[in-house]
Amino acid sequence: MLTTALILLPVAGALVVAAFPLPRTATAGLAFLVALMEVGLWIVAASRFDFDDGGLQLGTSREWVESLGISYSVGFYGFSLWLTGATVVVSAAAIGYALWIGRDRPRAYYALMLLLTGAVVATFAAQDLLLFYVSFEAMLIPLYVLVGVWGGARRMAATLTFVVYTMAGSLLMLAAVVAFGVTQGTFSLVDSGTSDNVWIFLGFAIAFAIKAPLFPFHGWLPLSYREAPVEVSAVLSGIVSKTAIYGFLRIAIPKFPEPADDLAVLVLVLAGAGLVYGSLLAFRAADLRGIVAYSSMAQMGLITLGIFAFDDLGLDGAVLQSVAHALVSASMFLLVGMVERRCGTGELDALGGMARGRPVLATVLLTTGIIALAVPGSATFAGEFLIMAGVYDQGWGYAAIVALGIVLAAMYVLRLISAALHVRPGSAVRDEALDLRPGELALVLPMILVLLVLSAWPALVSQSSFPGDRAARAVAKNYAASGGRAFIGSDLIFVIHPAVGARPAGPHP
């Protein structure tokens, strides 16, 4: 019930916002209130969640189209609950930001933002492939409109690119969903078994690679992140990208263990290439958004490395890093928006010197940046370290690439910080440009505080993402000892064994 409520609350909120012609501020306020209630609801869900249990929890299942084996089936695992937590927080911050700056055509705008939130939550909760597909698609429609109507000068080009890319991914996924469902006789993710069909795996994997995006499927990213309203970019890079991570963790790998293992090298190479490529482009990007956008791409490559490490360290690290990156990236985009509003531009050449006389902006941007570059001791560092340690198992070269990523991240983040804050004020920085207002601070501060808490205690997430780890380890070790390779997580435990092939070893005891 709670899961359904988490999905339906924002959707209902969207309908109410769209239906009643309230004054602009009231509409925005209502939407923000709904977003905050969603956060509250998530806290209730988390408090009822047993983080030591690796199985599906808070689940609801209803037959939908019985003859086709389609059901409304939702629920959470540890890792998906954490991803949902990041979602509701980022979404509340984004809606709050829109409230703060006052978007045009508020009814449509806020309804779409809330719909988007509901769709993302539904994607993370879906335990039925068709429901997953529908939610996945339902995210796109609000995004098209949000970018196309409220975006910057080149919004049409951005929207078109975004549509073309995501539609291509959706098609592949739809085909894969249908093919998988037909061969399995059910669309339920819980009941279905595994498949060794490489093509269906590729259908899913490419769809997720486009959504993340992974190199070289990122053609939509530069324009969309630049032209979208800044809080939509925050949602896009912070949480929409994480639906791809969820897709890998819940579908592409557990349902296709053998193809995933066979093609792991391909994915790892692309992810590693994306990490370096994104970092290098971020390093020379000419504007704030460009840096954040490409760094986001680099981070998705990093997280994917962790997933395809296929071991506890990599998987747990990937989830931790996903949650941390969601908050970092959203905070960064909102801060970029705040700087752009003050200066009228995000071009690095025109900025600078904002630290003087604006201590709050300087402190907040510096703190976020430091976490973004994964200084040791931060939650992002903890995630990166786990990923680095995990992916070492697949080859030392991948670990070395992660290490290279650490250095490059320092280079591009420090460049951003200095370009905005330090040296002499740039041509676009006028003395009247104010420090952060309390309202703006209130939007980013909660995310930064969560990041600080996670920095003090990253085990909070990493330990409870796949708690099945511990119970299933003995099983996995047995397989490993007899020459097999095993990777484990919740009841998504799969063992790859040369002799017996891929088969599920879970649900764990």
Binding site: F180, N197, P216, L281, A389, A410, L414
Partner: protein, 634 residues
């Protein structure tokens, strides 16, 4: 005892948080007091930990205390844990003690700066991070402290962030240290897989059973971190630039504590380095190369702080030599005495810089002996300790290191020994070149625009600074004079015995070797002094050949080399990727559709919908085909 260590660790963090959260509601002076007092509270905690450990039974002096599980994944976990043992308690005392004095000194030094609160918040953050580094009970937490001191260093080097030079120096320091952090992290990733734990004792127990290749790689990774943090060749170029930070920062971070962290790491992880003797010797060799190179470059510098910075690199080279030869006690001993006299030199230099309104160019100094008599004495004591003239602190520690090289013998031992003696000569030369230029000779004229990051500072009204500056300088003067007396060869050696409980020395010079070395080293130092004095009297420089001068002035072209090898290729590569891959292949294809759409105006809707319609049709067909293919191809 363990409680003392925890208090020691968290008091400065509490101070930093208090200053940050209080913001404008407290006065700048109050912020200074909070920072100073919390650092001294940490010192109190360190004393409790030290004496508590002292009181323990000698074989019970290793106490691990875990607060909670910091990071966990699968069956791998890392605790937030501290290790209280002879080595860590010494380091705690040095860090919090010298740190407290320097923070206190800062109150006088930074008075009147715009952003004193931010300064003190950063300083307290640094002290916390440094204490975390030395107290950590496992490699990952050590790396956390390691990274956080780097962060604090970045923040404080770039403290005067309106200066482009300061910002560039801060970035350079951070990025070079990130290289070290990365190799450090790779090294401990290997340990995760090879040893299954990152706890010191767990790892050390297995150090001998790891494969030689693995242990070499681990040691190499750790050495990479150590070399970057301690500004040793080849990752040394950030330290001189770091002098853009306020002078007390240079004293605390870039002389007394952070830059010596590499030495601490070599000693702390000694079982790993002992299992990888080649890498351990590499550390000694790198240290020796650094000590010669830095000593040479120091001969031609004009900036008073940069001379001292090169001197720091050079002295840390001696510590690396000691740690690389297995003379752990002497490495830590020299670390401690160096913390005293180098902090003293920086702080005395700070008084000089203040007095001259921010001037740092020693060509515009001179004759300050009569104007700043007390500072003159302090600086002279620091210089004598640095050069290793008995009975000052540096004499005991540096000579012990050279004695160890002699005791090691063989080609390696002798080479290092001779290089170390030449280094002593260089030290005498550059140290007294600086001393004479600043304090002797004609008094400098004051009518000029000062050079240096602190040039905006108004000349102080107090001749030698307020009490908050004088007292710490006085205390350090005393420590630099008598601080070496805890090791007198043949008489007593409580200090090295104490550290030896954690890291037993591989090599120990005999008393004869020790005194013989002392005779040589002091002679070499005095020759250096004599050369500096003669050059000064004759009014010429120590390096007279113009081409040699030019090479040294360019610091042997390391900056230029790295620029050409790394920075420019990275920029070129990223621009090339943008120009040749991202724009033509990835952005433009879609871009043309987009811009075409917008330009055509009236036709927009039709073109667009036409495209979409075609697209939709393709989609439907594609899905159908794909489903068939997916199901059929099995």
């Amino acid at each position: 005892m363990v409680a003392g260590a925890w208090i020691c660790l968290f008091a400065p963090l509490a101070g930093s948080l208090a200053i940050t959260l209080a913001g404008q509601t407290i006065s700048r002076r109050m912020a200074g007091w909070i920072s100073t007092l919390t650092t001294f509270v940490a010192f109190g905690g360190a004393l409790v930990a030290f004496f508590g450990t002292w009181a323990e039974d000698p074989d019970q002096r290793e106490n691990l205390s875990t607060a909670y599980t910091w990071l966990a994944a699968g069956d791998f976990d890392v605790g937030f844990q501290i290790l209280v043992d002879p080595l860590s308690t010494v380091m705690m005392l040095v860090v919090s003690g010298v740190g407290g004095l320097i923070v206190w000194y800062s109150m006088g030094y930074m008075a009147g700066d715009d952003e004193e609160r931010r300064y003190f918040a950063y300083m307290s953050l640094f002290v916390f991070s440094m204490l975390l580094l030395v107290e950590a009970g496992n490699f990952l937490l050590l790396l956390v402290g390691w990274g956080l001191v780097g962060l604090a260093s970045y923040l404080l080097i770039g403290f005067w962030h309106s200066r482009p030079e300061a910002v560039a120096a801060a970035k350079k320091a951070f990025v070079m240290n990130a290289v070290g952090d990365a190799t450090f992290a790779l090294g401990i990733v290997l340990l995760v897989w090879q040893a299954g734990t990152l706890e010191f004792f767990g790892v050390f127990d297995q150090a001998d059973s790891l494969s030689p290749t693995m242990v070499n790689l681990v040691a190499l990774g750790l050495l990479g971190g150590a070399v970057a943090k301690s500004a040793q060749v080849p990752l040394h170029t950030w330290l001189p630039d770091a002098m853009e930070g306020p002078t007390p920062v240079s004293a605390l971070i870039h002389a007394a504590t952070m830059v010596t962290a590499g030495v601490y790491l070599l000693v702390r992880a000694h079982p790993i380095f002992e299992a990888a003797p080649d890498i351990q010797h590499l550390a000694a060799v790198l240290g020796t190369v650094t000590l010669l190179l830095a000593g040479l470059v120091a001969l031609v510098q004009w900036d008073i702080k940069r001379v001292i910075a090169y001197s720091t690199m050079s002295q840390i080279g001696y510590m690396f030599m000691a740690a690389g030869l297995g003379a752990y006690g002497f490495a830590i001993f020299h670390l401690m005495t160096h913390a005293f006299f180098k902090a003293l030199l920086f702080m005395a230099a700070g008084v000089v810089i203040h007095h001259l309104g921010g001037e740092q160019d020693m060509r515009r100094m001179g004759g300050l002996k009569s104007v700043l008599p007390r500072t003159h004495i302090a600086f002279l004591v620091g210089t004598l300790a640095l050069v290793g003239i008995p009975p000052f602190a540096g004499f005991w520690s540096k000579d012990a290191i050279l004695g160890s090289a002699l005791a090691t013998g063989g080609a390696l031992g002798w080479t290092l020994y001779i290089a170390g003696l030449v280094g002593a000569l260089l030290t005498g030369a550059y140290a007294f070149r600086l001393y004479y230029a600043v304090f002797r000779g004609k008094q400098a004229e004051v009518e000029h625009v000062p050079y240096g990051p602190e040039a905006s500072h108004p000349p102080t009204t107090h001749a030698e600074g307020p009490l908050s500056m004088l007292v710490p300088v006085g205390i350090l003067t005393v420590l630099s004079t008598v601080g070496g007396l805890v090791y007198i060869p043949g008489v007593w050696q409580p200090f090295t015995d104490w550290v030896g409980q954690t890291a037993e020395a591989l090599v120990e010079p005999t008393v004869a070797e020790d005194y013989l070395t002392s005779a040589f080293a002091v002679t070499f130092g005095l020759v250096g002094l004599y050369l500096a004095r003669r050059a000064f009297s004759a009014g010429r420089q120590l390096v007279t050949r113009p081409d040699a001068w030019r090479v040294l002035e360019h610091k042997l072209y390391f900056d230029e080399l790295y620029d050409a090898l790394f920075f420019r290729p990275a920029v070129a590569l990223s621009l090339a990727l943008r120009r040749d891959v991202e724009e033509p292949l990835i952005e433009r294809s879609m871009d043309e559709i987009g811009s075409g759409t917008i330009q055509v105006g009236g036709e927009v809707a039709r073109v667009q919908s036409g495209l979409l319609r075609t697209y939709a049709l393709t989609i439907a067909v594609a899905v159908a085909v794909l489903v068939v293919v997916f199901v059929a191809v099995r």
